[in-house]
Symmetry: D2
Subunit: 261 residues, 4 copies
């Protein structure tokens, strides 16, 4: 793995408590300010990741190395991001891994793109379609920050017109009208390739599943995932009161070959 | 990616319906028998993955290429396997990816091992501890079948005595007494490394979280994940009646550095 | 309250364990047989409810007095019953109580009818519509057993033709096409009366909600309820593995008055 | 049922939308003000419940008659109230109904008390214990408003010292240390009577279940209930994003008779 010393221009996740973390870029000569005092970046450079640092007010912070999930949660965004729990299932069910070639649409601000790039690197590739240019800019920024931009081709194109790539391992859809992309996905996928679609409404799911059946996909499955946090403390352990009740449904399917005429 | 023609000794996932799939090895000269008729493997060899095949009774099967999730669900097992939904979260939250070095304990029949190997290949490595020899045999079989044995070191050792490796990216625990391994995990992890523990009972969670706090881990979080399938059919769409109510809790934490004396 | 001595012709709930309970009628001179030995009813008569009884094999049973929920769960049935958790919400949200006049359709085997009768007695009344005569027979048997038949009028009539009653407090629908009954329910309800509909599919919910909006109902709300059991034992506490993932959606609404022309 | 004309001093639930409702007392000569204009109560008196009323700004409100659930949700409170979904299950599982005699502790601000009184009236009775006098005042106000004070005896007493009543049908506990009350509940209950306990933490559940086992209770069961709202609109139907992840666990049990020495 990479060295664990904190260097200039690295991103650091300052951990104060389970509810308070800060993702910041380490800039020489500059200072990180919070309501709990400030920390000089120069005092940080050269320290090991995981080190505890006292702020000017004597409050302890831990300088963590951001992980995939941190890059996703702390991504610069202009829209609702796909949740880590859903990204986890999308990755697992899609069957992708190191070396996979994946088409994604739309990019949004790049949260899912970041995860796909993380898992297909270093000889795989993500082709990500997005028609809104301002989203692509944000996605590019997020991917650079996570050190994953080299594994992604960001495409300012309308995926409903068609997919340029062929023989890809998976097509991942996170857009308003996934059913319109299903025939393009079929054309782009290698035999037995996987399609995954994420949608908040049931109506989107029904239309997408119908399009999948019409387009010779099999092994079609739709799930939803509820994640709940626990408050763990001896004598007071309980699930958390706050919980996200719904993000979206995830639909999976696989390309079957058309019988030859 | 690898070629998509079905070859001798490949594993194929015969898809009949959402409820009926069969994982079989393609053996020259042999025949696959089901209650829906038989299929000769020789008729399959050389066909593309995703092809539709008629059995002797005229029933259509699709010859799918098994994905990670299929290898997990269809693994040979002697014990309860970790569920794909939990494996997905464990992988996502652990921050591992291609190239990571990961310690796992215990191996069990290798379901989680298979996923870890899939995501760290090809220059990463999984060190998996298991004291029960018969489990290791099954795990070896499952990993071979999934083509991932080269990325795993199966160790017939008691992890509660200590972990041989050092400077690893993550330690993943799926055993009855995870709290006993926490200090060994701290020693084995690189600075800022991740520990993940999967446990069915709340008492295991409470003890493990206490051990994590005592051992200088931070960013400690426990979650549970409920996954529900949808039956999607226009006019009849509804969640499925059957659902797994509980598998286990997943606890995550990160190694902070001890303040120097 | 009523006396607590067990009498001839009472129903008793024999409790062996959380998983094994038996609802039986106490018949003089007869014997109750299980795989854990037999119990003579004559030994039971005159004992207090809650008494512990040894079977011929020395196994301890507790002779419990059946409660509303027991009558529901142990009802004679030919169809899927409405679940106690859903019945509980239907009763709570409908606003009914002692003295309420309630229309129900369809009766089915009378599980929900039993609960409605239990809560409106003794000066309220349930009018329950069912077109299938064999269901009415079973419902009558279940209501008699629970001692609630006097508070119910079972009607072998097609509710889609209309509701005979007027000025009722609530209309409760548990049938395949609730949206067809909405205008009849409006006519039968007193001003500000409540309608509640229970349906397994989302499509039924959407059609019913649309009919409610068109028919001048307000305060429309749809919920689903997931109930999970805990296994509670010091050191081994955890949610149960088995769980019902879906029963149905419950929709509530209230009759607003039409503006006068 | 009662007449449906709105009278002076009645409570009315002004319904503006699913998210905006107001519980107000109808006071002669006074005016109800909202950000959507005002309504003169004198214009309301004599109208039927369920009537639509225009505010001074021409916005339509519906004057609903508050139901049990409305009285609970809109209760004056100084503490977290028990949720209607939990109250529904507590009532259903306790087996109480018209005529039941029920002990409750603690009263809190009377949300659960209101529901218990609603279902046991008019010849049943709720005995509700609370040591904090200011809570009792609020509870009294809430019970009066709901028209249910006549069926409740509010007792400013410490239930951990003992329960005055005997031969009651059910004891309902919603307090911090329910396990301390279990033996008192056993003494107060009639044979085969029901105890129900509501607790937010797992540790409370474990201690209570142990006390129940030690005190000769049987048929012990603990559940939790998750309720999720649906947003129902053709083409956009989906579960709501917001959801309460946890309120508390509900434990039920029944008093078995002690074997005679």
């Amino acid at each position: 793995m990479t060295t664990q010393k904190i260097r200039e221009d690295d991103y650091v996740l300052f951990y104060l408590s389970q509810r308070k973390t800060y993702m910041v870029k380490v800039e020489k000569g500059k200072t990180f300010h919070t309501h709990k005092g400030f920390i000089k970046f120069d005092d940080l450079i050269g320290k090991e990741y995981g080190s505890k640092i006292l702020s000017s007010l004597g409050v302890e912070f831990v300088a963590l190395k951001p992980l995939l999930r941190d890059y996703i949660i702390k991504s610069v965004r202009k829209t609702q991001i796909t949740y880590p729990k859903d990204i986890a299932l999308i990755v697992m069910f899609s069957g992708i891994g190191p070396g996979s070639r994946v088409v994604e649409a739309g990019t949004g601000t790049g949260a899912l793109t970041t995860a796909l790039a993380h898992f297909v690197k270093s000889n795989g590739r993500v082709y990500s379609y997005e028609i809104r240019e301002e989203f692509l800019k944000t996605a590019r920024k997020n991917l650079k920050r996570a050190g994953l931009i080299d594994f992604v081709e960001l495409k300012n194109k309308d995926v409903s017109v068609g997919i340029d790539e062929s023989d890809v391992d998976a097509v991942i859809l996170d857009l308003a009208t996934p059913w319109l992309i299903v025939s393009h996905a079929y054309a782009a996928l290698k035999p037995c390739g996987t399609i995954v679609s994420f949608s908040p409404t049931i109506d989107q799911v029904v239309k997408t599943v119908e399009a999948l059946k019409e387009n010779n996909f099999v092994d079609i499955e739709t799930v939803e995932c509820l994640m709940r946090r626990m408050q763990t403390e001896r004598g007071k352990t309980r699930p958390q009161t706050l919980m996200t009740g719904h993000t979206g449904y995830i639909t999976f399917a696989r390309k079957a070959m058309k019988p030859k005429a």
